[in-house]
Structures are given as C-alpha cells and as structure tokens.
C-alpha cells in the first residue's frame, strides 16, 4: 500500500522571512520535497489553509506577541514533529538583542506615548514549547535544510553537526580569524554553514548555535586577550543574547 504523504505546515512568526526565502531558493529541490509531502499550510506561498493535526510543522521567527505565543502552543499541540527554522526560532537571533526590560522605553521613543504595544519579548521557541528539530542559521543553509528534511522523511532523527565552524573554515581555505587577532565565535559554534560569513570577510557571530561541549569560558578568555570586554559582549549578543551562559561574563559554561 502506498504510504500517505506527511502533512506539512509552514508558519512564520515575527521575523524577516529570509529563511522562507531560502526555502524558495531551493527551487528544483523544493519541488522534489513537495512531491514527497503535502504542504497543507503556508501563508507566504499559498491561500490553502488546512486545520491540524500536522505531521511536521516548520516554524520560522520569534513569538513576540501574545497571539503568536498562543499560536505557537496550539501548533505544538497539533504537531508530531516541530521544527524551528532559523536563528530567531532556534536561539533568539537578532530580535533577541532587545532586552525585555528596555522594550517599554523603545516603544515610547519609536512609536510615542499613545502607542499600545503588542510585543512582550523576543525569545526562541524553546522558551515556550518543546522543539524537536532545530535548523540553525541566519539565514538557514539550503543544504542543511534538505539534509534535515530528508532525514526526517526517512524517519531518522536528524543529528546536530558534531563539529565546529572551524572545520568548515579549514575546508573553505579561510585564514583563521583568531590567529590574525580578530574576534570569532567559530570554535564554539556548530558547523554546517560552510563558514560562509568568514569566507565573505565577515565575523562569525555563532548563528548556527552552540555545538555540543562548546567551551564558552575558554573562548571568552581568549577573546578578552585580543579585544575589549564591550566588544566581546557585542559579539556574544549578536545572535546569542538569550543563550544560557553566553551573557554572564564567563561565570558559567554553556549547557
């Protein structure tokens, strides 16, 4: 008997939608995935909206408003597998730079005193629900999306990459930023990104998430030997402002 195609829903919460743009950029490979699943819900791509339950729900973005937090919890309850897509969903990312306590002040400065704010805080999905699979990156990498989706369709649990961005950097032939005295979060960051930022000349701010057994304290000590504490804080907070052990200045190691 032919197996029924898994029902897939794709949702975006508040975000830039760059990871969904990456899905569209898969082009022929997106078509190949579409043949193996039934995308029953994708607001960016289609009018069709089917109610849950879903076999796989892919969620991009941050649950910032009360409505989004409720939607996220509902989706969790309706989904067998919940995938966090991209840094906003997996680790908090850029929106998480804004501390919850400072939102009030910024609402007033940006919108004025009359404004009734909707947002509460920009946190990763794990702050509210259990996430089964994380597809990291700001934005996600196309090959990693395909790898993880294919492993799921083969009923495997996709593993995190067991190596650091440093490995990707060596493969790309990049000179080491740290050896050149430039800050880099590559050693504590999960690989799989092909070191695309460092290859382009930008720093690695760790958008692929902490790798297993990352020694954050050791990297912090190293970074403090080449730059100022303020700059180290800025590097750590670019994508990891809400990651445990990252922002407390070396007193705790990552868990």
């Amino acid at each position: 008997m032919k197996k029924k195609k898994p029902k897939v829903a794709i949702y975006d919460l508040t975000d830039c939608e760059g990871c969904e743009v990456k899905l569209v950029s898969l082009r022929e490979r997106l078509l190949a995935i579409e043949r193996r699943v039934d995308i029953v819900n994708w607001r960016l791509g289609q009018e069709r909206v089917a109610p849950g339950p879903y076999d796989i729900t892919i969620i991009e973005g941050s649950p910032i408003t009360e409505h989004e937090i409720e939607l996220l919890k509902t989706l969790r309850a309706q989904s067998k597998i919940l995938i966090a897509l991209g840094a906003c969903a997996t680790i908090g990312g850029i929106p998480a730079i804004m501390p919850a306590a400072e939102r009030k002040n910024w609402y007033k400065r940006i919108y004025g005193a009359q404004y009734k704010p909707r947002g509460i805080d920009a946190l990763p999905l794990v702050a509210y629900v259990t996430v089964d699979v994380a597809i990291h990156g700001c934005p996600v990498d196309e090959d990693e999306v395909v790898r993880i989706v294919e492993e799921l369709l083969a009923e495997k649990k996709p593993d995190a990459r067991g190596y650091a961005v440093c490995f990707d950097c060596k493969r790309a032939g990049n000179p080491c930023r740290l050896l050149a005295g430039k800050p880099c979060l590559g050693p504590i960051t999960q690989g799989g990104c092909k070191a695309i930022c460092v290859s382009g000349g930008s720093p690695c701010y760790g958008c692929f998430g902490l790798r297993d057994d990352a020694n954050v304290a050791a990297l912090r000590t190293l970074l403090l030997s080449i730059t100022t504490p303020d700059e180290v804080r800025r590097y750590f907070s670019m994508f990891h402002a809400r990651t445990k052990g990252m922002m407390d200045d070396g007193k705790a190691s990552a868990t």
Partner: protein, 401 residues
C-alpha cells in the same frame, strides 16, 4: 458589517477589515515589533549593515546598502569606482530577486488560477523553468557579489571585504546572457495579463539621485526625508502609516517607472503602464526585471574590462557622525538615518521603509476599488481586494521593523 480578510502571499501578517456599507477599509497589521531602531543603538558603525538586513529577508541587500550609505555619509567616506559598480550590480540582483519572488510566486497565481506558485511547474513547465532561471540568476548575482543570496557577507563600510573573482564575474556574465530571453518573456507575460480596472489619484514618489521626486513635479533633497514623508500611528497597526506632504503616496516599481522614465528614454517596445492603476505595479515590476537584467549585464562587462580596486575607503578627518542613507529598495524609497558618537557607537537610528509609505495608499486604493465595483458579487470584490493588496507587494515585515 465588517468582514476581515486575511491576506496570504504577502511578506508578513496583515488583514483587511472591510465595512461594505460604509465602503471603508482598515489594513490591520499584526506583525510583532522588533524595535530595530532601538537594537541599533549601542552597536558599532560596522555592525549596522550586518543587523539591518535582518529587518527583511526579501530585501536584505537594500537595507545593507542603505545602512552602509548612512554610515559612510556620517563618516564622510567616499568609496572607489569598483565599490560603486559592485554595489550597483548587487542592487540590480536584489531588484531581480525580489521582483521575481513576488511576480511568479505571490502575484501570478492570482491571474492564472493557481494556489501555490510552484503549481506552475505542472501546469506550464516551460514558463516555470524561465521563472526559476530568473530566480537563480538573482540569487547568483547576490551570491557572487554579496557572498550569499540572503543577508550579504562581503560588504563593509568603505568597500568590500572580498571582491568577486574574474571567474565568478565571467560565470555571471554567461548566466545573464542565458537569461536575457527569460527577462524579455517576463515583460511579455505580464503585459498580457488581464489587470483589473481601477483609477486612483495618488502621489507617485521615487528617489532620483539625492532628490525625492513626485510624478506631480515636486522635488526635494533626501536630507529632508522626514519633512516630506510623515509617519502616523493607527490604533489597529504595529506599523506606522506614511504620507507624502499630507497625501497618500505610492512608491515602488510603478512610481519609479512613472517618475524616472520620460517618453524619450523608454525602450520603443516597452509596454506602457497605467500610473493611475496600482494593479499595474505588477507590470512595472516585470519591466524593471528586464531593465535591471540589462543593467547587470552592462555592469558585469564593465567590471570584467576594468582593474578591480580592492581599497577600502577611509573616513574623512572631520566627519559629521550623522548620516542618511537613501536608496530605492524593490518596494520603493528606503531611508536609514544613523548618528554615531566619537567612539563609533550608534546613538540614534531612524528607518523609514517603503511599505510604510504605501500603507495609507493601500487603504485609499482599496476604498476606491470598493466604490468602483459596486454591483459586483461580494466574493469577486473580496478576491479583487486581496489581489490589490498583493499587487502593492507590501512587505509587512519591513513596515513594522
């Protein structure tokens, strides 16, 4: 009676509340506030163009270039010719990427009775192959020059961290030559679509050099952008609503073609757009795909003929530390204003996005549509309203930021 219509196939979350009896509409915007102008404060000059692309994954290059322009204005940096050409090429890639995504994946399904853009693969595989080739091309330009198709990695204040290799530029030139006919075909395809009738009197506004120019002949410096473009709060929206000198404005492809193209410079065979009909923004985007495609090919050729200068330009001796970066993004004029302290830390940021400028006119056009379709079935009018909002190609994500 008020009915809410949720709008799919746009970038971000919004719905249209329609009061059919009063012929009134409200564009509700629900996207959460990320407070980017606050996020930027306390970050460095070199981090601004890293952070602001994350406002919008559909037009990240536009934000990247606007922030770079703002910081370089603040520092009095004058970039070299290579940088100018490469940024212009990157910008062409951005326009093609964004317009192709909107036209083929979000707008076209309305006109040919599809739900999802990729369904075109079965219905008309040859057309779909052309659409994919253009999508691939836009991504290839962004990748070759910017280092990645979404969120650039190679750009920096004063120039580029890394320049594309000759081989990459040669490959790009070949890809551009291969897709020239697909770009022409796009114009023909969108010129042949049955656009709904609509007449709205709006201020069409576009940047021209360092001026903000309207189709009605008004012109002012981009430095006065805050005076020209007023943003106001609406209780039902997390985005502000913009107006131009007090009137509803339309920015983007249709405005650019109207404001910047005079009859003498228009290609002879180019179809004419109806500037009073916002549905024609789709046709204008198709025409722009071909224009930017041709420009990208021209620039790539020029880069291949010239010696690439990798020098990164330095700040002037007496910078003002207050800069404005104005650039036409795919959806219209984008403004980044950034102030820095003497340690190079951002102390103030203001961002006005194209969609903010279009929101007031989306409502005005929707009211006009309702008034001009009296007597038609409600289901049809609702469908037209959804198509109208989509024709603007609103980026709600940008508008809230």
């Amino acid at each position: 009676m008020v009915a809410n219509t949720f709008i799919t196939k746009i970038e971000g979350h919004g719905d249209l509340a329609v009061d059919w009896r009063k012929e009134d509409v409200r564009l509700n915007i629900h996207e959460g506030e990320r407070l980017f102008e606050g996020i930027l404060v306390g970050r460095t000059a070199e981090e601004a163009h890293w952070i602001t692309p994350r406002i919008c994954g559909v037009c990240p290059i536009a934000h990247n270039l606007a922030s770079l322009a703002a910081i370089e204005d603040a520092y009095g940096v004058r970039v070299n010719d290579t940088t100018t050409l490469l940024r212009r090429l990157l910008w062409c890639g951005q326009m093609i990427q964004s317009h192709v995504l909107h036209l083929f994946f979000l707008a076209l399904p309305d006109y040919i009775g599809l739900d999802r853009g990729t369904e075109l693969a079965q219905k008309d595989p040859r057309s779909f192959a052309k659409a994919l080739a253009l999508k691939e091309l836009g991504d290839a330009i962004a990748h070759a020059v910017g280092g990645r198709n979404v969120h650039p990695t190679t750009t920096t204040v004063g120039g580029f961290h890394t320049l594309p290799t000759t081989r990459a530029l040669e490959q790009l030139a070949r890809a551009l030559e291969r897709t020239a006919r697909a770009a022409e075909w796009t114009v023909r395809t969108f010129a042949g679509l049955p656009y709904p009738e609509l007449r709205v009197d709006l201020e069409l506004v576009a940047q021209h050099g360092d001026r903000i120019v309207s189709a009605n002949g008004k012109s002012s410096s981009v430095r006065s952008y805050k005076k020209q473009i007023n943003e106001e709060l609406r209780a039902y929206s997390t985005a502000k609503f913009g107006t131009y000198r007090g009137r509803a404005m339309l920015v983007g492809a249709l405005a650019r073609l109207t404001v910047l193209t005079d009859a003498s410079s228009a290609p002879a065979r180019a179809p004419t757009v109806d500037s009073k009909n916002p549905f024609h923004n789709n046709l204008a985007q198709a025409i722009e795909i071909q224009q930017f495609h041709a420009e990208a090919l021209r620039i790539t050729g020029e880069l291949l003929r010239s010696h690439l200068d990798a020098t990164i330009a330095k700040p002037s001796a007496h910078p003002t530390r207050k800069g404005i970066g104005a650039i036409e993004a795919p959806r219209g004029g984008l403004y980044h204003e950034i102030h820095l302290n003497d340690a190079g830390i951002v102390t103030h940021a203001n961002i006005i996005t194209p969609t903010v400028q279009n929101l007031t006119s989306i409502e005005e056009s929707a009211r006009a549509l309702i008034a001009q379709t009296r007597g038609h079935a409600k289901a049809k009018r609702e469908r037209l309203l959804r198509m109208l909002v989509r024709a603007y190609d609103p980026c709600i994500t940008c508008s809230v930021h």
